[in-house]
């Protein structure tokens, strides 16, 4: 038991932080909002940074790292609102590896790792299939009861939509079900786990950044002749959010570690991480607006980008009540 990033993990965290700080951020993301993806950033992520194969085994040309490293990187992407298809990429990588389908792996993984082929992933269910980045990506990974389907985007009808979160636009997808990836439920489960972890980590990063920016504002901005951050109500609000972010970080690390070790708490950890981190991000981003006052709800300020991203994350791959109900099943229903 050693519940802290080891040296290599710490280095990856710092590398990712530096990369995204330099290459992503509000300005870059706003510029990418018209097209939906920051393609230069994604290419640089995959190739220059070499993280396109982060979780791919070394014998397949990847870095052979695990979910802890994925989480650490996704956190930094979330912090900078990076407009990249990391979510679909991570999910499709996990699905392909879990399928053990050499033909599919050889067909897609190298191009994915090189950043030449991008994947959008979504879950069937509800009235239609809303998939983030579906209108921007080459492949679609569709999860459902029939398994995980990896198809060419051109083989589906994709209707681009005006989306609340313009930094990761949704599209409505209509696709007929072909053959799923082999491996039974495994590809679906692996993809969902990687996706849930990515979203939780992204939420953690976004929440941390929203908090940090609000704290910085609170130190500078004066009202009633004092820095607003010297007002106790302001402080306590930020303190509460800090407590929640600390818990969110514990949740992400727990889930990532549990996945890598096949720990018995794996499922519990994923449900906990998704619901807790998404809720935390919603609260912090909401407070970011509130505590900035009027400027916080203008288009020019980044607060709404965080706020909308937080909402989108909350709704993706199961909302809070869904994941808490799953936790309840594990803890309360003896049959679970």
């Amino acid at each position: 038991m050693a519940f802290a990033l080891d040296e290599q993990q710490q280095m990856i965290a710092e590398t990712a932080a530096a990369f995204f700080a330099e290459n992503a951020g509000g300005e870059r993301t706003r510029a990418a909002m018209a097209s939906g993806i920051d393609r230069d950033l994604w290419r640089a992520y995959c190739r220059e940074l070499g993280f396109g194969g982060l979780t791919v085994p070394e014998d397949l040309g990847g870095a052979g790292l695990g979910h802890v490293e994925l989480a650490v990187v996704a956190e930094q992407a979330g912090r900078t609102l990076a407009a990249i298809p990391l979510l679909g990429h991570a999910m499709a990588t996990a699905a392909l590896l879990a399928s053990d389908d050499r033909a599919a792996i050889d067909a897609h993984l190298p191009a994915m790792m090189a950043g030449d082929r991008s994947v959008a992933a979504g879950e069937r269910g509800g009235e239609g299939l809303l998939v983030p980045h579906a209108a921007q990506c080459d492949l679609l990974l569709l999860l459902g009861e029939g398994g995980a389907h990896l198809i060419d985007a051109s083989a589906a009808t994709v209707e681009p939509l005006k989306s609340l979160d313009e930094t990761r636009p949704l599209a409505r997808v209509h696709a007929s079900a072909g053959d799923p990836l082999p491996g039974g439920a495994a590809p679906c489960e692996a993809a969902r786990a990687a996706g849930v972890l990515c979203l939780a980590a992204e939420a953690l990063g976004g929440a941390q950044e929203a908090l940090d920016r609000t704290v910085a504002f609170a130190k500078e901005r004066e009202q009633f002749g004092r820095p607003v951050g010297s007002f106790q109500a302001y402080k306590h609000r930020l303190a509460n959010r800090t407590v929640e972010i600390e818990q969110a970080r514990s949740a992400v690390w727990w889930a990532a570690c549990a996945l890598d070790e096949g720990h018995e708490t794996r499922a519990l950890a994923l449900h906990a991480a998704k619901s807790f981190c998404a809720d935390t991000y919603l609260r912090v981003a909401g407070d970011m607006i509130q505590l900035h006052g009027g400027i916080g709800f203008t288009w020019e300020h980044d607060a709404h980008l965080f706020f909308k991203r937080a909402r989108a994350i909350a709704n993706m791959l199961g909302d809070g009540p869904h994941h808490r109900e799953r936790v309840a099943r594990i803890m309360l229903d003896d049959a679970a």
Partner: protein, 392 residues
């Protein structure tokens, strides 16, 4: 204590309802249901004039000034029927509900004669110049200045978060008229024509992509000296009087809009099955309870507000509705799920509930943040010691 209305009052209700329904089904059907402050301003100005023609523009004002001297209950009834009929948000809310009553209370005979008729007739639309950059919720930090130049005041400075400025004819401005003063001292209350070279208006784009608020720049803008309400240096008192009218009858109309929003959430929940989910049922019930309590709170506020004192209910009302509506926005999005996040690619603006979600984030900020409201409740309502101010 009584909830019901008298027969005469119910007759008045039918009269209003029938006229409003006729208008909204007929000539003004195109502006029915507009809840924001930006759509179709010209048509809405026509609507203001139509209201005036039928003496419905300011029924609570004295008959001599174009009103009906309506009782409190009649005003309640009209506000409810107005909203129920789907009549659009009043473009001249500031003139009718805020400036008018202020002039009636504190204006000179000349000011009344000059400004009230145009409000009553719907020919002058007003907006409010209070907030400034760096003085969001801190009105006392106002830096806009007015200096005397012969028979005129000349104004330099900047206001912000001014809704309606892009359509309005006139603005009331709180400005510093005495050099070297700070805080509440040395402020005066001026009535200024917006249509002049010294004024520039720039819209502020908001979180929902629309621009309801504006920045208003004063660069040598002028108004005659007789446009000062109250004495020189008494602006703080005048503005306090004006703000005290903010929690008036119009809150009931606003609540009918909230009702429509809650009904839309309920309809969505019924449509997608969340209305059968016990967890969502609890939250929907809370929203319903909150809205009802807002109604009865407003009725208490109106009944008890005669003495002019800030009753408990009035102090707490802003925070109550703003928090309620923000929570409703969150509930709406939770009910809708991902479907709530999208619109057709070519849609202009957002559907009702997505817009509610976004816009309600401003409710807890403008007109005094929730934080400021809590300070007021604690200090004025409960008599707790004031927060120490800094040295600025």
């Amino acid at each position: 204590m009584k909830l019901g209305f008298s027969d005469m009052e119910e007759a008045f209700r039918r009269e209003c309802a029938s006229w409003l329904d006729e208008q909204m089904a007929g000539e003004f059907a195109d502006i029915r249901g507009i809840a924001n402050l930006v759509d179709k301003p010209e048509r809405r100005k026509a609507w203001e004039r139509r209201l005036a023609e039928h003496r419905y523009s300011c029924i609570g004002w004295p008959i001599a000034w174009g009103g009906r001297d309506a009782t409190l209950n009649e005003q309640v009834i009209f506000a409810e029927e107005y909203a129920r009929a789907g009549a659009p948000n009043r473009l001249n809310h500031m003139g009718v509900e805020l400036l008018g009553p202020t002039l009636l209370a504190l204006g000179s005979s000349e000011q009344k004669a000059r400004f009230l008729p145009a409000i009553a007739e719907g020919t002058a639309i007003w907006c409010q110049g209070y907030s400034e950059p760096g003085a969001g919720s801190d009105l006392a930090a106002i830096r806009t200045r007015a200096r005397r130049d012969g028979d005129e005041w000349v104004i330099e400075g900047q206001k912000i978060w001014t809704s309606l400025a892009q359509f309005a004819d006139m603005i009331f401005v709180l400005a510093r008229t005495e050099d070297g003063t700070r805080g509440r001292e040395g402020l005066s209350f001026l009535l200024v024509d917006l249509d002049q070279p010294g004024i520039e208006i720039r819209p502020i784009r908001q979180i929902n992509g629309e621009a309801e608020f504006n920045e208003v720049f004063f660069d040598g803008a002028r108004c005659p000296v007789e446009n000062m309400v109250g004495a020189e240096g008494e602006g703080w008192t005048v503005s306090t009087t004006l703000l005290s009218f903010e929690r008036g009858i119009s809150t009931l109309g606003q609540q009918m809009q909230f009702r429509n929003e809650l009904d839309a959430v309920i309809a969505a929940a019924k449509h997608n099955g969340k209305a059968a989910d016990p967890v969502f049922r609890q939250r929907l019930a809370e929203a319903e309870i909150g809205l009802r309590l807002m109604r009865y709170g407003a009725l208490r506020m109106l009944a008890g507000g005669k003495g002019g004192a800030l009753a408990g209910a009035a102090l707490t009302y802003k925070i109550q509705w703003a928090s309620w509506r923000r929570a409703l926005g969150e509930l709406a999005m939770d009910v809708l799920g991902q479907e709530g996040e999208v619109a057709p690619a070519d849609a202009e603006g957002w559907p009702l509930l997505a817009n509610l979600y976004l816009y309600s984030r401003a409710d807890t900020i403008y007109g005094g943040t929730n934080q400021i409201q809590r300070n007021l409740i604690a200090e004025r309502g409960l008599g707790l010691p004031r927060e120490p101010r800094g040295n600025a």
